[in-house]
Point group: C2
Chain length 505, copies 2
Amino acid sequence: MPTAQEAYEELAHRERERHLLASSAAVLSWDERTYMPSRGAALRADQLALLARLVHERLTDPRVGELLDILQDSDLARGDTPQAANIRAWRHDYRRAVRLPKKLVEELARATTLGQQAWQEARQRADFALFRPHLEKIVRLKREEAQALHEQGSLYDALLDEYEPGMTVEQLTRVLGELRRQLVPLLQHILASRRGCPQILQRHYPVDRQEEIGRQVATAIGFDFSAGRLDRTVHPFCSGIGPGDVRLTTRYHPRHFGQAFFGVLHEAGHGLYEQGLSAEAFGTPIGQACSLGIHESQSRLWENFVGRSRPFWEYFYPAVREAFPEALGTVALDEFLLAVNYVERSLIRVEADEVTYNLHILLRFELEQALLTQDLPVADLPAAWNHILYDLLELRPENDAAGCLQDIHWSAGLFGYFPTYTLGNLYAAQFMEKAHADIPSLKDHIRHGRFEPLLDWLREHIHRHGRRYLPGELCRRITGRELSAEPFLRYLRSKYAELYGLGHA
Amino acid sequence: MPTAQEAYEELAHRERERHLLASSAAVLSWDERTYMPSRGAALRADQLALLARLVHERLTDPRVGELLDILQDSDLARGDTPQAANIRAWRHDYRRAVRLPKKLVEELARATTLGQQAWQEARQRADFALFRPHLEKIVRLKREEAQALHEQGSLYDALLDEYEPGMTVEQLTRVLGELRRQLVPLLQHILASRRGCPQILQRHYPVDRQEEIGRQVATAIGFDFSAGRLDRTVHPFCSGIGPGDVRLTTRYHPRHFGQAFFGVLHEAGHGLYEQGLSAEAFGTPIGQACSLGIHESQSRLWENFVGRSRPFWEYFYPAVREAFPEALGTVALDEFLLAVNYVERSLIRVEADEVTYNLHILLRFELEQALLTQDLPVADLPAAWNHILYDLLELRPENDAAGCLQDIHWSAGLFGYFPTYTLGNLYAAQFMEKAHADIPSLKDHIRHGRFEPLLDWLREHIHRHGRRYLPGELCRRITGRELSAEPFLRYLRSKYAELYGLGHA
């Protein structure tokens, strides 16, 4: 029998290999979405399926269980050390993986492949009936999955834990409930005083110059292009392939400045997190991102908290105006700032501004819980969607394509995923309050294009730790408090008070 | 014990998986040479090393030997069937692989990694002494490898067999000896009557238009861009990732029309072969290329036999002249044709024309045999190189960077590889003679831009067979004759007689 130290090393070695395979698959996935010729799709699916199987076999190898048993009661598993954190995370991942029956995993893979195809067609035709039987099956299988994974708390917790380890539906309901109570009246208050003209951003913005400006802003905030790329794709993403290789993607619309600009900032925020992970720890949990919520906090922080702030545009607006003289030659900074912060009730989540965005998430959070607990039959989803949407945003979609069919997530079996978007906003606000407290001249730094102090702070407090702490613990360690909606609400109130010259709501 | 049919299916399944892994590695290698950020190199090396190990483990898995033993004496292994061909090729590959001691494989990997680094520096500094100890070690290890692989014939045969299965040093010496005897006087004859001005091709050729023309010519000859790509790289290559995904690369020089144009035609020739392999047979030998020599025959055929012919330029010159009016506006077709077929003695293999190119190969063939058989100590390589070079081309390199240090091959352990380049020329000539006989109006088709008849002929006689026949057997089946230097020599005589208005030499 190996000693604890030997067991640790064997496990670390195995996990490193598993992540080398996973990162190879990440290159293939990136290629599939950027450069792969269309007729290569079938081969690519076979390659990725094989790599996924090899990764899963390594994850669930009984030898991993044996090694974890040796480690569990050893000194290595105790205390606040990187080793103990790795052992906890390995245990977490292994237990989840071995609890899922192989048959269920395969059924889910099939159901979500077919589900996504059906969803695509249903959305195109705005016909929920085409998708309904698929969603019924997927919900049933996800419920089975949750039952298999379930240890304590609610079934929803078991799914949430995949994306946001340690988060519970109880905490989430409390925090998001508070957010909802205050956000709906705050939105009314903001809309009542709204100013600015968003059409400024829909003038002609030549795509090649958008690309140039995108590279410029990503470089400015610290994204290292010798260890990364920026390419075009249809549905933008950031792929952290591994140390020295982090790839951003975006799409350009010649009459839409914001889509690519804030898209690049958003993906570069994810990319900075990936570039800030420990290269030495590659393949072990402390070299990996903490959670989806923490990941999203980094993208939202750069996209919104920095990228839509006055100090940022005091620095960056001259470059943008110079790049697009036809569109912005006569537009003053204040006018531009109002445009990039324009708030409006809208139907589509991915096009929503930073105030209303969270209401779209609250809607989905409520509905996916109801679907899983069987309080809501799938057949009633469209009506329930439209009902809650009206409550939150006073809008009714013309059809289900602009309603409950707009997102791919449920068709792909992603339940418990949506809340991480809003968690990202809340974490970002709470982190930024602390960053401003720790770096009193932060606004001034940003106003002068000095982004290193903020990036260094994020690296020090968040990036370098990887999965060393659970997200809730990380939040407490950094800010001294539990996650709360208050910092985000304070941020919005203060921002819009300043923008519109309001008294605080 | 499985039946022969079961054994065949198990082996086919295993081999298909092995090739899925190898083709995943091919995507990673392509990415490494096109788009990977520079700091991703260390991770990529680890990913590729792991995938190579997994591929090798599958190749040498004792279960493969068991299955082959079952198959060997079965009916499936008999007769001219795809199954029998696959079994023969599997046996060939397995026996080679298991004969190599793991320690030797690892030593060679290390020695060639260090060797390539040392070679790069030695070439840069034109200092053979820096490379000499590495080459000594590599030659020693390759000799060990040949001894381990050796079954019959010479040690050199054992290495040759990796690239050109079934070819022997005896046959090669006969064919290349004949080529040498006739080519040296033919070259003198050609040079004595030479006409034309190659500087035409060194005018200003804007790179974006070169890229456009490259795409156009690849499309014209039948390369399917919905199942392939064309990208930029430093050292051009073609990567046949698998069915539906074949990738060409090239480099552009703004003052060098031929480099990219003939480079693209060359790589597209390889690419057409890959696109012509059987997609259903992917992962089995009959879905793979026959040999390096046959592969090279396809690239040379399109690059030279088609791409430097008068009928081709009668069709394509108007498009090229239109793309580069500044460079070619006043250049007549005949003048252009003389320029793209200009022959001259030169020092660098990769820049050589289609006549002198083969003399560069004869030089290397002679030297690498002498190195392996210990007739030539590594220390004497530069002098021997310069001596034979003078015999063949009447030139002396200024230093070893332009001499025996110019190619990467030996530093990478590639011995027995060089001859396949000239084999490609010889096969191409022999195939083209037959194609012209089978398609009497072939020249006329090409003159009118109809490349399908030739491509269909190549697909029918070469591509679709994959490794069904050994290269020598394939050559006999197609042309009714053994491989010979005569068709190539006939081709050159007739071509230059026509170009320069000569009597036949």
